[in-house]
């Protein structure tokens, strides 16, 4: 539907589209030879600026009796750098809903859209999920324009390319695809943009809504799309040839393609000595295995392979498990579930209560359960150890906690046999997993020698002369 020549009809249609909502404001006044209407939503527009830079100058012109044209009003009276013309009724409605100011002149079937929106936005604080000891502390916020500007500030180059899309019938959310055009692979960019364009959904509230659509494997428990709340990480990934997707209303930027190793690399690693970074990475990888396998191995050894347990530890286990009402597997599963409940509860509680709850849970509840003879102290220790190690790789916590339960169950049912078969199952499964042409387990499977420089061990930055091979990119050379 298009706008019509009559100002009254246009105003009435717009008001009717918003069901005559009282917060939709329309102000009509004279400006030169025209009757002009300004339409906006109260609360979404900076009213002071609107009055100072739009209404007042136009009214002055109106009072002066000077008969100027629409173009000269726009060029000389309202000096806005960016004024968009639009004659599509639905588009005009959408722009008003997004907090833009619409200017309609009588006798014209055209509207002029002014950007005077000033939504309240959060300051650029350090994201709670990726705090660093050293390095930039700036994080994204919920405003896409601010987020784009932060990235633009880092990449002061014309090589940074952005593609804007609008997704969601009801929310008409702005989505921005960003990449470095001299590095990112065009096919991958095209693939991502096409996937985004094909999304037909009523609303996009957070970037995770899009992540679900961008996943190459729809049904999988493994993480397939990278995400970050930090501009420095997003930019570092773009320098490796990845594509960043920003969504209005979400502080979480999506990064693609994703390989598993990314979650073992922390931003901290690049802002400190490479030998220490390597040491921490080894710990992270060991922690990953401890988290997923330790409870399962403990159960398997306790139930089937007690010969594998060192004698002194075996004696401790026997002494502490004597007279327990629960079987070893139910005992471990009980402690695991208890741990998950405590975690969920402390997460949702107010901060001051959360700390108290975790202390009560960890110290008192665990200790009382052991003293009451409900669970054994080795079981608490095993689950606690696996629980602590889980958060050395926070981005993989969801997947690892699921894997931990699976390995515990197969360890209890089949011993080492079950653990090995399940482990092989997952490895082969992940080896067949290509994420936008990047092998999921690269650079270990397949082995990519060049990329091993930034894997378990991290060499100094000066030796990383090429971008990772595991992510397809046009320009491999990083430095001379």
């Amino acid at each position: 539907m298009k706008l019509v020549n009559s100002l009254q009809v246009n105003i009435s249609n717009i008001k009717s589209a918003f069901s005559f909502s009282p917060d939709v404001i329309s102000k009509v006044f004279d400006c030169g030879r025209y009757r002009v209407a300004i339409i906006y939503i109260k609360g979404l527009v900076n009213v002071q600026q609107l009055a100072d830079y739009v209404i007042k100058p136009m009214q002055i012109v109106g009072r002066s009796g000077y008969k100027c044209t629409v173009d000269s009003i726009l060029d000389n009276v309202i000096s806005f750098p960016e004024t968009k013309k639009d004659d599509d009724f639905d588009s005009v409605i959408s722009q008003i809903a997004k907090g833009k100011v619409v200017l309609i002149f009588d006798g014209q079937s055209l509207s002029y859209i002014l950007e005077l929106d000033s939504p309240k936005e959060r300051s650029l604080s350090e994201p709670p999920t990726s705090a660093v000891l050293k390095g930039p502390r700036e994080g994204f916020n919920e405003n896409i324009k601010t987020n784009i500007a932060i990235i633009r500030k880092i990449f002061a180059t014309d090589k940074l390319e952005t593609q804007m899309l609008t997704i969601g019938e009801m929310t008409t959310t702005d989505v921005c695809v960003m990449y470095l055009k001299n590095i990112a692979d065009k096919t991958i960019v095209k693939q991502i943009v096409n996937k985004l364009k094909s999304i037909k959904i009523d609303g996009v509230i957070d970037s995770y809504y899009l992540a679900e659509f961008l996943k190459p494997h729809k049904v999988s428990m493994f993480k397939q799309i990278g995400n970050t709340e930090k501009p420095d990480i997003a930019c570092a990934k773009m320098l490796e040839g990845r594509v960043v997707v920003l969504v209005d209303g979400s502080p979480l930027a999506l990064t693609l393609p994703f390989v598993l190793l990314e979650d073992f690399q922390s931003a901290d690693d690049y802002y400190k000595d490479s030998s220490h970074a390597s040491f921490v990475r080894v710990l992270r990888i060991a922690s990953c295995f401890i988290t997923a396998l330790l409870p399962g191995l403990y159960i398997a050894m306790q139930m089937f392979h007690y010969k594998a347990v060192p004698l002194s530890f075996l004696v401790t286990i026997i002494n502490s498990t004597q007279g327990l009402p629960l079987t070893p597997v139910t005992e471990i599963l009980f402690v695991l579930v208890l741990f998950e409940i405590l975690y969920e509860a402390s997460l949702r509680m107010p901060e001051y209560l959360g700390i108290a709850l975790s202390v009560v849970g960890a110290l008192i509840l665990g200790d009382t359960a052991v003293k009451a003879g409900l669970i054994s102290s080795p079981a608490v220790m095993i689950v606690a150890l696996s629980g602590i190690t889980l958060y050395t790789i926070p981005d993989q916590a969801n997947q690892l906690s699921l894997l931990r339960v699976m390995f515990t169950i197969v360890g209890a049912a089949l011993g080492f046999y079950g653990i090995i078969v399940l482990g092989l199952f997952f490895v082969v499964y992940l080896c067949d997993y290509d994420n936008y042409r990047s092998p999921y387990l690269a650079p270990f499977a397949p082995i990519i020698k060049e990329d091993l420089k930034d894997s378990v061990l991290k060499v100094p930055l000066t030796q990383m002369r090429h971008r990772p091979k595991s992510v397809y990119n046009k320009n491999r050379r990083r430095m001379d």
Binding site: P310, L414, Y417, I420, V421, V428, C431, F444, A445, P446
Partner: protein, 397 residues
């Protein structure tokens, strides 16, 4: 579209196929014929295998985009190709079944007192079913993921027992004559023949300039470790090797150093289980791929159902009795049939490669001749016979 594997993945697949049987039951079987000279028997068998692998690799490199089935059917016709491919499929399937049984015995010897039949078989069938649905690229990558584990397990299994072995047990050489050695090679021939795995990979490997030498290098390292293990086995058990039917676990258990380093032993056991399961997967995956191509089955799921069904049937019939299974593969009728068909397969393969090479040369020559005529017509000829031959050779390369 065929998802190709690289030369390193090919080498690892070949190495894993080679090690499993050689490290477990077969050293004891060799001892039945060759006594303390089993390593000579094994070495001879591995050398023959290596030579055959080298021939196959060369043919594969010259025909990088053709599978074994396509290769033979183009040269010899579809019927011959179906027969030979199905033979390979059955051969690898039986190998897979043998390893399945070996793992069961290995479990009972090392990890469980007596793992129940049903508990052992159900997860295994699920695992095999899953692997059969995958491709060689995924499996090759999995091998790369576990490469360090494979290397550590092999080295530990040879080096740690070697420190405790009594090498005087190996002397005198050929105490019981050389006949036993050849008998060992003949009766235990089923443990060799890993070039068949290589044939399965034909058309699925991305060859580079030095691929053959790279694959050969890995194969030689594997063969050396296998022979080394057999040397250690003989040095520890001497003439009584026959009584130690599960070589891998017994070599580790009988070396006193492992009682001091128990955790190394356990880690080694777990590593070996991973390798053995990888090997099981490889044999059944190869078998499934061959069956699918030979019988032209479109659906992967149907092939998976057939392989899993056959495995269940075979395992049920033999009721996980390793001795019964081993007795079948070392029986004279089985060996004669198996070796004869292998020989026929090799003859057909080499003949097909000669025929393909000739036809390629012919087509190149005809293309060249046509261009000569074209040049002559335009009056700019002057190419000598020698130059003509060189150009054809270069084109072939």
């Amino acid at each position: 579209m065929v998802r190709k594997i690289n030369d390193f993945q090919c080498a690892l697949l070949l190495c894993v196929a080679t090690i499993g049987l050689n490290f477990l039951v077969f050293p004891a079987l060799f001892a039945k014929y060759a006594y303390s000279d089993i390593y000579i028997s094994v070495a001879i068998g591995l050398v023959i295998d290596f030579v055959l692998c080298s021939i196959v690799l060369r043919v594969m490199k010259n025909n990088p985009n053709v599978t074994f089935f396509q290769f033979v059917s183009r040269a010899m016709g579809k019927v011959v190709a179906v027969v030979l491919t199905m033979f390979m499929c059955i051969h690898l399937f039986i190998k897979g079944v043998l390893v399945v049984k070996e793992i069961h015995n290995y479990f009972n010897e090392t990890l469980f007192n007596d793992i129940q039949w049903i508990i052992y078989v159900i997860p295994l069938l699920v695992f095999v079913g899953f692997i059969v649905l995958k491709n060689f690229r995924a499996y090759g990558r999995a091998m790369q993921f576990f490469v360090w584990l494979i290397v550590v397990a092999m080295v530990v299994s040879v080096v740690i027992p070697a420190t405790q072995a009594d090498f005087t047990n190996l002397l005198p050489l050929l105490e019981n004559g050389s006949l036993g050695i050849w008998k060992g090679v003949f009766f235990c021939s089923f443990t060799f023949g890993d070039y068949l795995v290589l044939l399965t990979l034909m058309g699925r490997v991305e060859f580079r300039e030095n691929s053959i030498s790279k694959i050969s290098k890995w194969l030689i390292i594997t063969d050396v470790l296998i022979v080394g293990f057999c040397v250690v086995f003989s040095a520890i058990f001497g003439d009584t090797g026959l009584n130690h039917s599960l070589a891998l676990s017994e070599v580790l258990l009988y070396t006193s150093i492992n009682t001091l380093t128990g955790s190394i032993n356990w880690i080694n056991i777990l590593f070996w289980l991973v390798i053995l399961f990888l090997q099981v997967g490889l044999f059944f995956l190869s078998s499934a791929k061959l069956m699918r191509e030979a019988l032209n089955i479109k659906s992967k799921v149907v092939v998976m159902a057939i392989v899993v069904g056959l495995l269940l049937l075979t395992v049920s019939l033999l009721y996980l009795n390793l001795i019964r299974a081993i007795n079948i593969v070392i029986s004279l009728p089985f060996i004669i049939t198996d070796l004869s068909i292998q020989l026929l397969l090799l003859v057909v393969y080499i003949w097909s490669s000669i025929k393909t090479g000739k036809s390629r040369k012919m087509s190149l020559v005809s293309v060249f001749n046509r261009s000569i005529v074209k040049y002559q017509l335009t009056g700019i000829t002057g190419v000598t016979a020698d130059q003509k031959y060189t150009s054809v050779k270069a084109g072939e390369r």
